[in-house]
């Protein structure tokens, strides 16, 4: 089969772009190879690990199983786009630093993109809901503990609940009142 190419027009990190892509290329390939947006990581290339997550029209997607040609007309954000023009970090990025939520850093970009979507949703999620929303990402370094805290604190701050955010402590023993049915 000879190669087929197509022109894709989309907005990446606020900038309109036009790119010729191999029709078989994934959005991960396009973002990494054509735009050198290397925060988009490859961990499995089949949508299992979440390291390649980007925001497409306001919603998080695994870009490794999203064809580049499907990006036509879409608005795409990667982690590079969350940083301001003067290098200013967004609050969710800063929270990942402050809470020690970063170790090897490979899952970090994907996690931050989903977290960004969560904290900007204007919703207050329960702990269990947060865990479920973040469960599309695998991390082998952190046990998710500090990531959980970074996301929860930032979510509460977005809702103006600053005092509550400060109370999200570094450790906690949950006191379950009675046996609970499984989720």
């Amino acid at each position: 089969m000879s190669k087929q190419y197509k022109v894709v027009h989309c907005t990446i990190n606020g900038k309109e772009v036009e790119q010729i892509v191999d029709v078989r290329a994934s959005l991960t390939d396009m973002l990494r190879n054509d735009f050198r947006l290397t925060s988009v990581k490859k961990g499995c290339e089949v949508g299992e690990c979440g390291a390649c997550t980007v925001i497409i029209d306001g919603e998080g997607f695994n870009s490794c199983i999203y064809l580049a040609v499907w990006a036509e007309g879409k608005e795409i954000w990667t982690l590079e786009g969350l940083t301001g023009p003067g290098g200013e970090l967004s609050d969710i990025q800063q929270a990942f630093i402050d809470e020690g939520a970063i170790q090897c850093g490979f899952c970090t970009p994907g996690f931050i993109m989903t977290s960004w979507e969560i904290v900007n949703s204007g919703k207050e999620y329960s702990d269990d809901e947060l865990r479920k929303l973040l469960s599309g990402h695998l991390c082998r370094c952190t046990g998710y503990e500090n990531i959980f805290r970074a996301v929860k604190k930032t979510m509460l701050r977005h809702l103006g609940k600053f005092e509550e955010a400060e109370k999200v402590n570094s450790q906690g023993i949950a006191d379950y009142p009675e046996p609970m049915p499984f989720m």
């Binding site: 299992e48 982690l79 290098g87 020690g100 170790q103 970009p109 503990e145 023993i173 379950y176 989720m183």
Partner: protein
């Protein structure tokens, strides 16, 4: 000593760049014009490659070259373990690997390679090539004990009955000791499963020619060792290779092995030094990198009425897979730990490391101790129950006592670590109250709480060389760069080292810059990170080198202040006259003056090697509280606490992070992870992240990491191993908690619904009508 930087929660130096997504890992650094390598893996578990017809695959547009095992003209067998080399041949790792082989020993063995212009072409050619291999298939064996039997398939000529190694220990006389009247015998089999590291960055490397040599950029924990092994694998001088280690997306021991660097370098050489990249897909990472050994333990203890041990025996069969990798070291570690954790005068122990036709087992976080801890701590629980003793009190009574000295390693238990960790953990989780509360439960949903401990040490002395080298270079403003052979792989070694240097030179930590990426042309020699050695071993060379630099700085200060060196010190970034505390000049003024003076200009730098001849125990414990839904055969982990004594904590936030990660790995090991092979074909069944159940965000409660800090007297900064220990006690704690909840104590991992269903049915907690009809199956 009051510390300014050690013991403080300094933000890791690379956190900001990682939060911006601009840190460069191996793939991010590789030019996109690189040729792509895909490895052709064996699709038989044991066999001989008769032929590989490359003609069809070569027709795929974009294919550059296809190499097969038949292109290897000179066979250089090489070892892959990330151990320091030994100049004594009897201590060298087993050299049983070839970069490609015509004698595949497991499903996934490397028999050829495709080089193409892009990934799609390489993958298409690979699919064709897989169908173009003619094998003579041979019988295979997947189980360690089966592999030792007469008539089992033989993997390596030099190792009859597939026994890579067999060692024994004997203390006192078990035979005599068990004659003592009134003993209670406790016996059990404990089975652990193979699992994989699952670092989120798969292994990747690329290679190119430069200046008549080959440069290999690789995601590794051990760059200097990789250079040596490439030389051995290719039969070339080691200096012909330069190895560069960029930022690494997790290693956990898999990258403490030489993986595809030799093949990648060889292919680049075959292509005249062209840039070639070998990026291992996740599915291949599971089966063609390394895995954790499955170890089967059998332990027997004879208990006196007072709950003490009269005699003990242990046997272990360690499934090593098809090649030696780390060899017997993993099984030996468990055997070595056995008499130390619960000392007893009469012990017999033996262990076999056995080749089988499975994926190669190597180092993985804990190096044999997650398996051993499971066996030891299941068994300890069983002994306590047999003696009707509280499991925690049983442990307090029988564990290694304070002052215990181990003659071979010269390790000593200086502090009452076990009891301190137990006390702290019990208080955090409310152990004693919950033990009472959860007594005599009935019903479908029950809760339990339990504890487990483990044995661990730090670094590899005296079994192998322990050496660390450091270089510190001062800039014109008094800030410094430093370089170490101990690699940053996410654990935070660079930040810990920066804190030490800041402390020693008394300069702000933001004036201390790690050169984070190792390059064998530039970085001082070091063997890398493994064995929970990093912070301990680098501490020695960091301190020694920083003191050398400080000496030079003060000598230089003498030139500009006229004061004798013995009256000068470095305090908070200033040259201070100690006699009256006057600040004479800043470190920046001094560095600038010394570099640009027309009277004896000198750049201020120091470099040194420290050979470490000590080791340190690193102990702790885990408390787990679970809720078991018996009919659903599901375990919900409610609370979990790990307490560790790693000596002085250098950085509490990074140390907690290490503990969280280890606990998480332990949770997966306990409840869900297991690599499986088809018994009929030897083919792996679940080598992807969907079917292999890594523990996810939803499988975790809050993780509690706590420390007791007993300053380690042998250590440069009072610290000792922490990287691996947190992964060791989790699975047995969960197993014991499930037992406390249900009365069913399960001796096999993982404690998945499948296992629980069988065990609960056996115990009569679940009625399985189908099984009643068929008659009770034997296990």
């Amino acid at each position: 000593m009051s510390n300014k930087y050690i013991g403080k929660a300094v933000t890791r130096h690379d956190a900001h760049d990682k939060a911006m997504g601009r840190i460069k890992y191996t793939d991010d650094m590789c030019d996109k014009g690189a040729l792509v390598i895909r490895v052709l893996h064996s699709t038989v578990a044991n066999g001989i490659v008769k032929s590989i017809d490359t003609s069809e695959a070569e027709k795929v547009p974009g294919v550059v070259r296809i190499f097969t095992c038949f292109d290897i003209k000179e066979k250089h067998y090489y070892p892959t373990a990330g151990h320091p080399w030994s100049t004594d041949p009897s201590h060298q790792d087993i050299a049983d690997r070839l970069i490609m082989t015509d004698r595949p020993l497991f499903y996934g063995d490397d028999i050829g390679a495709v080089v193409a212009e892009d990934e799609v072409a390489a993958s298409q050619a690979l699919r064709i090539l897989e169908k173009s291999v003619e094998y003579e298939e041979l019988p295979f064996v997947l189980d360690a004990q089966e592999a030792m039997k007469e008539g089992a398939p033989q993997l390596h000529e030099k190792y009859p009955n597939n026994v890579l190694a067999h060692t024994e220990i004997h203390m006192g006389s078990v035979e005599e000791a068990i004659k003592e009247p009134g003993l209670t015998k406790v016996e059990g089999w404990y089975e652990t499963q193979p699992v994989q590291h699952c670092h989120i960055e798969n292994f990747i490397c690329y290679a190119y020619g430069e200046g008549g040599r080959t440069v290999v950029v690789t995601s590794t924990q051990i760059p200097h060792i990789v250079r040596r092994v490439i030389g051995q694998a290719l039969g070339m001088d080691w200096g012909k290779f330069r190895v560069i280690k960029p930022y690494v997306g997790g290693g956990f021991g898999n990258k403490q092995d030489v993986l595809y660097e030799p093949l990648c370098a060889w292919i680049s050489i075959q292509l005249g030094g062209r840039l070639v990249k070998l990026d291992v897909p996740r599915e291949e990472t599971f089966i063609s990198n390394r895995i954790r050994h499955a170890i089967r333990y059998h332990i027997t203890s004879w208990m006196r009425p007072d709950g003490s041990f009269a005699a003990r025996t242990i046997k272990a069969w360690c499934n090593n897979g098809a090649y030696s990798s780390h060899g017997h070291a993993i099984a030996a570690k468990g055997l070595n730990a056995f008499p130390q954790l619960y000392p007893c005068d009469n012990i017999d122990g033996e262990t076999w490391t056995v080749y089988t036709n499975r994926s190669v087992a190597g180092a993985m976080r804990g190096y044999g101790m997650p398996q051993a801890s499971y066996a030891f701590e299941c068994h300890a629980e069983d002994c306590a129950r047999a003696m009707k003793m509280d499991p925690l009190e049983f442990r307090r009574k029988n564990l290694m006592p304070v002052g215990y000295y181990h003659a071979f390693s010269k390790n000593e238990l200086y502090s009452d670590t076990f009891n301190q960790c137990f006390d702290k953990g019990a208080e955090i989780i409310g152990y004693y109250d919950k033990v009472e509360k959860y007594k005599n439960q009935t019903g479908d949903i029950r809760r339990g709480i339990a504890v487990s401990t483990f044995w661990y040490n730090t670094a590899v002395y005296p079994i192998a060389l322990e050496t660390s080298s450091c270089r510190i270079v001062m800039n014109q403003d008094g800030s410094v760069q430093f370089q170490l052979g101990e690699t940053e792989i996410g654990q935070g070694a660079d930040t810990a080292a920066a804190q030490m240097i800041a402390e020693e030179l008394s300069i702000p930590v933001d004036m201390v810059h790690p050169v984070s990426c190792q390059d064998t042309d530039i970085t001082p020699f070091g063997t890398g990170v493994y064995a929970s050695r990093g912070t301990y071993t680098l501490g020695f060379s960091v301190r020694q080198t920083a003191l050398l630099l400080k000496e030079k700085v003060l000598e230089a200060a003498h030139q500009f202040t006229r004061m004798p060196v013995y009256n000068l010190d470095l305090v908070d970034g200033k040259i201070v006259r100690t006699t009256d505390g006057r600040e004479l000049m800043t470190i920046g003024e001094l560095a600038l003056s010394k570099l640009y003076t027309t009277d004896g200009s000198q750049h201020l730098t120091a470099e040194s090697t420290y050979q470490i001849k000590s080791n340190a125990y690193s102990f702790g414990c885990c408390f787990a509280e679970v809720e078991v839904d018996i009919p659903m055969c599901r375990v919900r982990l409610l609370n979990i606490v790990n307490v560790h004594d790693c000596g002085q904590v250098i950085n509490p936030i990074l140390a907690s992070g290490q503990v969280h990660g280890g606990m998480s790995m332990g949770i997966g090991y306990a409840l869900s992870e297991k690599l499986m092979w088809d018994e009929k074909t030897g083919r792996p069944l679940n080598n992807n992240l969907l079917d292999y159940k890594l523990s996810s965000f939803m499988d975790h409660p809050r993780l509690n990491a706590a420390f007791v800090e007993n300053y380690e007297p042998t250590s440069a900064y009072g610290t000792k191993g922490l990287g691996e220990p947190p992964a060791c006690p989790v699975a047995p704690a969960i197993r014991n908690a499930i037992g406390a909840a249900t009365g069913v104590y399960i001796n096999e991992l993982p404690l998945s619904p499948h296992t629980l269903f069988r065990e609960f049915t056996d115990a009569g907690l679940i009625n399985d009508p189908w099984r009643n009809e068929q008659g009770k199956e034997s296990k």
